[in-house]
Symmetry: C2
Subunit: 371 residues, 2 copies
C-alpha cells in the first residue's frame, strides 16, 4: 500500500514555505554573522520531557511514534514550545533505512533496537536494494512536510540519517553491541563484502536525505554513532569515505537556500581535520575535545557543533549556566559555532536545566558576535 | 581475622627471587635495547581460555577466584603455559580497594560488578579510610608472592590497580553506568567532595601498589577505564592529577631493579602528551590512535603499549598476523614499544588467534631492533 505523500499533494511549494523568522542556525553553519550563537540539543524531543512520555505511551510502540506523521510532528514541536531553541530536528530513528530494507526494526525495553533479520553473508548483502522512498519511507517525508508546515518558519527543520558504518553495525550485529564482534569480523575478514554493504547503504542514505530535502528539511545531520569504535585507518576506509560520498551526492539546495550538513562521529575527536575536508558545513564535537583546540585545528573550513558534557545537566542550574559560559568563551569571538551537547540529552535530566542551558547560550553569546 | 602473608613468612627474599630469564618487558618500558618487541595482552588470563572457565566454575564466584591465592595464581599462569608471553599479570579485579573499604563488591551475571553500599554524600566519604593492606587485601599480596615464586623468573609479574577516578565511578554509581549521572553530578555540583573522595582513593592506591611491589610485583599498571568519559579539563583535574600523585608516591624499586609503571586511559588518545609528563614509564594506547603518530607526539619520554583492535582476533589467523605486522611497522625501528591489544581480549575469541598474535609479534619484530 503506497500512501500519498503530503509533500506531493502540495503542488505549489510556496504555499507551505513560510519565510524563516530565525535563521541563526543556518547562518552559523554557513559561517555568516549572527547576533547570538544558535542552540539546539540532540534528542531535544525525547524522554526527559513529560509531554513526550505521554505521547509515547499513547503511541504504544516507539516505531508507531516514528511512523505516524502526526505524532512524530507533535513530539518534534514539543521542545520548541518550552525552550527558545534555534532549530527543530525531525523526530525519527537512525535505523529507518535498514527497516525499509526489510530487516524488521523493533525495540525491546532495556535492550534498545533489534532487527528480526541480520546481514552476515555476501548473499545477504546481494539481496539488499535501495529502498523506494515513497513506498517504504514516505512516513518520514510526511512527518517532515507536516512539521515544516506547523513550524511556520519559526526555526529551520533538520533532517538526519545514521552513517553507513553505523547502520552496518546494527544490521550485522542485529542490535546494539558491546564489542562489535560480528561487524568487525566482517570488516577484517571480508573487507570487499563490507564495502559492498556500505556502498548500498551510502546510496540509500543519499536517496533518503535528498527526499528529506524535497519534503522540507532545511539542514541535515549525519550521525556516525559508531565511527569512534574504529582505528584511524579503518575509520577513514569504512566510515568517512562513505559519509563523504553522501555529502557529494546531496542536492544541498532548497527554496533558494543552501541546505547545510553536519557530520558527527561520536569519539572522533582525533579525526576532525579529516571530517572538515569532506565538504560538510559542520562538524559535531563530543565533550572529550577542547573546542578552542578544535577550532584551531579546523580553521575556517567548518562550523563546530557542541560540545557540552550532557552530564552537566545533572548538576545545578547555576553550574549549567557556568559551563555554557565556559564553552562559549573557549570557542571565543566570531562565527562558526552551533551550541549543543556532545551527545543526546539523557532521559532523566530535569527539563528546567535544559531551559537554563538554552537561555544561557543566548544570554552569554551576544558578546562574542559583532553587533 | 588477619591471615599471615606468604610474603612476610619468607624472611629471606633471595630464597624466592629467581633470576629473571626474560626481561624484555621491563627493558622495553625502560627504553633499553631488546631483541624482540615484548608482548602481553590485557585480560590474557580470562574467559576465552577453557581452562580458565573450568577454574572459574570450580571457584563458584568471581570473588572467590580473586581472593583465593592458589586459584588466582593458577589462572594467572594458564596463558603462560599456552603462549610465549613476555609478562604475567596477577589475576585480580580493579575494584578490590573499594571492596576493602567495606562497600561489598559482588558480581551479577550479565550486569558486571555491583556494590552493596554506594558513596553519595560528604558523610559517606568521611567514613572511608585507607584500607589496612594486610588485613583487607592480604589475599592479593599472597597471590602475587605465590605467583612470583611459581613463575620462577620465567617472565616479570605485573601488579595493577584501577585509577582513583575509575574507582570513584563504580563507588558512586554502585556499578557500571551508561551515563555516569551520579558520579558526574557530584563532580559538577560538589567538586570539593569529589576531590576528597579521589584523594583518599589515591592514598589507598599508593599503599596498595607499594604493598604489591613488596609482595613481588615487578611492574605496575594503572587502569583508568573511565577517564575517557571526561572533558579534557575534567580529565586533568579529576583523573590525571590523582594518577600523577600515585606515580610520585610509589617505591618503584625492588630487587635492585626499577619497577616500571604504565598508565592506560581508555579513550584518552587526545591526552597522551599529558600522560607522558606524569613520570610514568609507559602509556597505554587503545586502537583509535595511530601508533606512529602517538610516537611522534610523546617522543622519547615514554614507552607506548598497544594498540591492536581486540576485534581483529575475531578474524582469521592470517589477518591477525597481518595486523600485528602493520602495527609493528607503524611503530617502526627502535625501542619503546610493548605490544598489546588496545583493550582486554574478548571472552569469545578463539585462543588459536591469541597464539597467532603472540608468535607474530616475536616473528615480525626482530627486524625493528638492533642485533
Amino acid at each position: 500500500m503506497i500512501k500519498p505523500f503530503l509533500y506531493l499533494q502540495t503542488q505549489n511549494q510556496d504555499e507551505v514555505v513560510a519565510e524563516l523568522k530565525n535563521d541563526r542556525y543556518l547562518r552559523a553553519l554557513l559561517r555568516q554573522p549572527v547576533d547570538r550563537t544558535p542552540v539546539w540539543v540532540m534528542r531535544q524531543a525525547g524522554r526527559y520531557l513529560p509531554e513526550y512520555r505521554e505521547v509515547r505511551a499513547e503511541a504504544g510502540s516507539f516505531m508507531t511514534l516514528c511512523s505516524t506523521p502526526d505524532l512524530a510532528c507533535e513530539v518534534t514541536l514539543q521542545p520548541l514550545r518550552r525552550f527558545d531553541l534555534d532549530a527543530a530536528i525531525i523526530f525519527s530513528d537512525i535505523l529507518t533505512i535498514p527497516d525499509a530494507m526489510g530487516l524488521g526494526l523493533h525495540f525491546v525495553t532495556g535492550e534498545g533496537p533489534k532487527f528480526s533479520s541480520t546481514i552476515r553473508s555476501a548473499a545477504d548483502i546481494k539481496q539488499l536494494a535501495v529502498p523506494d522512498m515513497a513506498d517504504k519511507l514516505g512516513y518520514v517525508m510526511d512527518a517532515i512536510s507536516l512539521t515544516r508546515r506547523e513550524l511556520d518558519g519559526k526555526v529551520p527543520l533538520i533532517g538526519f540519517s545514521g552513517s553507513p558504518w553505523t547502520l552496518a553495525c546494527y544490521m550485522v550485529e542485529g542490535g546494539t553491541s558491546k564489542d562489535f564482534a560480528k561487524v568487525k569480523g566482517m570488516l577484517f575478514d571480508a573487507p570487499d563484502q563490507m564495502h559492498a554493504l556500505l556502498d548500498i547503504l551510502a546510496d540509500s542514505v543519499i536517496a533518503y536525505l535528498n527526499a528529506q530535502i524535497e519534503a522540507g528539511a532545511q539542514a541535515l545531520m549525519l550521525f556516525d554513532t559508531w565511527g569512534g569504535s574504529l582505528s584511524p585507518a579503518n575509520y577513514r576506509e569504512f566510515s568517512l569515505t562513505y559519509m563523504e560520498k553522501i555529502v557529494n551526492g546531496l542536492t544541498r539546495k532548497a527554496d533558494g537556500r543552501e541546505v547545510p550538513i553536519t557530520m558527527f562521529t561520536k569519539g572522533g575527536g582525533q579525526w576532525l581535520e579529516w571530517m572538515a575536508e569532506t565538504g560538510v558545513n559542520g562538524v559535531g564535537l563530543d565533550w572529550t575535545t577542547d573546542i578552542s583546540q578544535a577550532r584551531k585545528r579546523v580553521g575556517d573550513k567548518v562550523t563546530l557543533q557542541g560540545n557540552m558534557d550532557p552530564c552537566v545537566l545533572y548538576a545545578s542550574g547555576d553550574r549549567v549556566e557556568q559551563e555554557v559560559a565556559r564553552i562559549l568563551a573557549d570557542f571565543g569571538r566570531g562565527e562558526g559555532h552551533v551550541f549543543n551537547l556532545g551527545h543526546g540529552i539523557h532521559p532523566t535530566v530535569n527539563p528546567d536545566n535544559m531551559a537554563r542551558l538554552v537561555d544561557a547560550v543566548h544570554k552569554h553569546s551576544a558578546q562574542y558576535h559583532q553587533s
